[in-house]
Symmetry: C2
Subunit: 349 residues, 2 copies
């Protein structure tokens, strides 16, 4: 098989896999609405490990945006720490690609022991796993399963499951309808981006990657960081967009690429950060719903997403451009995207 | 003035500044206890920018450990985002070295508008600032003020203010007594560390720094990352200790230093992570309360803190060794620790 072929196919398949998953969710939505009735009244703790911890950060922010109290913690912290004080009653939302991640399963087990009347909601790609068996409600995207170590379509598709969950909890069934815009939007985005991901990825003069996002997009920025790191063994970091100015930008120089996942809420302030980084010598790339009326002068590249949905609903759409950049960078560095350095697909303790 | 002289003096002054601050707090404790009566019943949102956001992460975890609901968010997210759902009633704990950080002040202003009956607690180094004037209760460490851009003693001393706050909210006045062990412990730690910080800092074959911490120590690991970044413009990252295995370790190689801020709660699992990184070629440094009965075979350096207090109380003690490593690394790279690249002391929008 060609080097990186599994990852290439998995990244490319996202419009189709998203569409199939959304169709499937459409048939499940009535049952999920019934199963999740009353859940919104209790706070959620959202957990995962690695990519799914970053998905937890994004999902918790999204849940808060629809009025459901939610906070994210890594599986290891929930599973192993004795002293951490959590709400008396909370629902555990556990996210795991494989459904077998050890710390996540331990967190579920501990939760069951300490909250015998509580609820566990699972988001995963694999049916009939220990996680699914331990959950009261499971949202599963089997079409998103992957051969590759680094999560790509599994992450974005599980993000859609999180979106559906937010819609059901918020009593907003139209959210699923809106999500149906995303597969087509992704196809359009990649057509618009053209050779941009390959050009940026092949530019090995770029040695420091910074991904900036606010609100739910912070979690997606973290995942962009991890994908770049895993596939390319490069210096890659993620920050809340305005936080970047409070110290981290000290390492920005002409070898830096600063990627802004632009929100709707504070787009102007985020664009200002990118411009400041351009002034420090960085190359800048903005992913934004539309150019709108903002002044983009000085931003090197702007990719419009044109999803037609809010920043809280379109997070998955920011990632494929970055996944492709990482993919092409891996090839340019003669690395195999399918087999990241030091890693295996499922980390178990 | 010698290059880096302000930073050198500020790092070195920490035992004295801590002691003076703890003495001062002793006289204020009765009044603080009165002022903060009833505050523990309401959740806290803890906020700051840059270093003080990392301090917010540590302080929120510490508050949870004593039974006070608390979560951290960056000032920019609190100040600028409209949709984020927060608890109906919460106390805002705002942390700022200067008391003038724009996003933090905006977060306070917005909180006042939306929660006219709410409370603001300030932790800062400067009296008579807009932040102090806007707060109901202010914990101030004027002795910790700094000339340097990068926070060193201000961070650790504000961490002690956060500790006192946790003690008062928990109805545990003995916490302050225990904190009095820290200044002497710091002097001992630096004596034990000897030339270690200079030796590590001067080793420019180390090019990737990773700081790992769990619980409240995650926030301190983040600050260790930022200090290394600001002073030395180096590749530096921070993770929850067990999270590091879920992807980020893909960039570990023989140019890497992995520093473990070892907890009491999950020390064995944390030491296992360091050993795994050693197996991947990294140099490893552990900062731990005591060697205890753990097997440290394969860990390159172990520094014992011997504070006599819990992991939730001794966080500040982990930082000076790392501050010195960063200081000496800056000198080895012919950088000025007093004047980090791209930065100024107070970031205002």
């Amino acid at each position: 098989m060609t080097v990186g072929e599994a990852t290439r196919l998995e990244i490319a398949s996202q419009p189709d896999v998203w569409q199939a998953t959304l169709n499937e969710l459409g048939t499940q939505q009535p049952q999920l609405t019934q199963q999740l009735a009353g859940y919104a009244a209790t706070p959620f703790i959202v957990t995962g490990c690695g990519s799914t911890y970053y998905l937890s950060l994004a999902t918790a922010a999204t849940l808060r945006s629809v009025g459901v109290a939610a906070w994210a913690l890594p599986g290891s912290e929930l599973a192993l720490y004795e002293q951490t004080h959590l709400p008396h009653n909370f629902t555990l939302l556990a996210m795991s690609r494989s459904g077998t991640t050890s710390e996540t399963l331990w967190a579920v087990k501990r939760y069951r022991e300490e909250h015998p009347d509580g609820h566990v909601v699972a988001v995963t790609c694999v049916p009939n796993t220990p996680l699914v068996q331990a959950a009261d409600v499971a949202l599963i995207a089997p079409q998103a399963q992957e051969q590759s170590v680094a999560q790509t379509r599994s992450f974005t598709t599980m993000a859609l499951l999180g979106q559906l969950l937010a819609g059901v909890l918020a009593g907003d069934p139209a959210r699923l309808e809106r999500l149906h815009k995303l597969p087509h939007a992704l196809t359009s985005v990649m057509a618009e981006a053209g050779t941009l991901p390959e050009t940026i990825g092949a530019d090995l003069s770029l040695q420091r990657y910074f991904f900036l996002g606010s609100g739910a997009l912070y979690g997606f920025a973290c995942e962009a960081m991890l994908k770049t790191k895993e596939m390319t063994t490069s210096w890659a970091e993620a920050y809340h967009t305005l936080e970047f100015r409070h110290g981290p930008m000290s390492v920005v120089d002409s070898s830096s690429l600063v990627v802004g996942l632009i929100s709707d809420s504070i787009a102007e302030a985020e664009i200002a950060v990118l411009k400041q980084m351009k002034g420090l010598g960085a190359r800048t790339l903005a992913l934004t719903e539309t150019r709108g009326t903002y002044d983009w002068t000085g931003i090197d590249q702007v990719v419009e997403l044109r999803s037609g949905v809010s920043e809280w609903e379109r997070g998955a759409l920011y990632l494929p451009v970055i996944q492709w950049i990482a993919f092409y960078r891996a090839l340019a560095k003669e690395l195999d995207p399918d087999n990241p350095h030091n890693l295996t697909a499922v980390i178990t303790l």
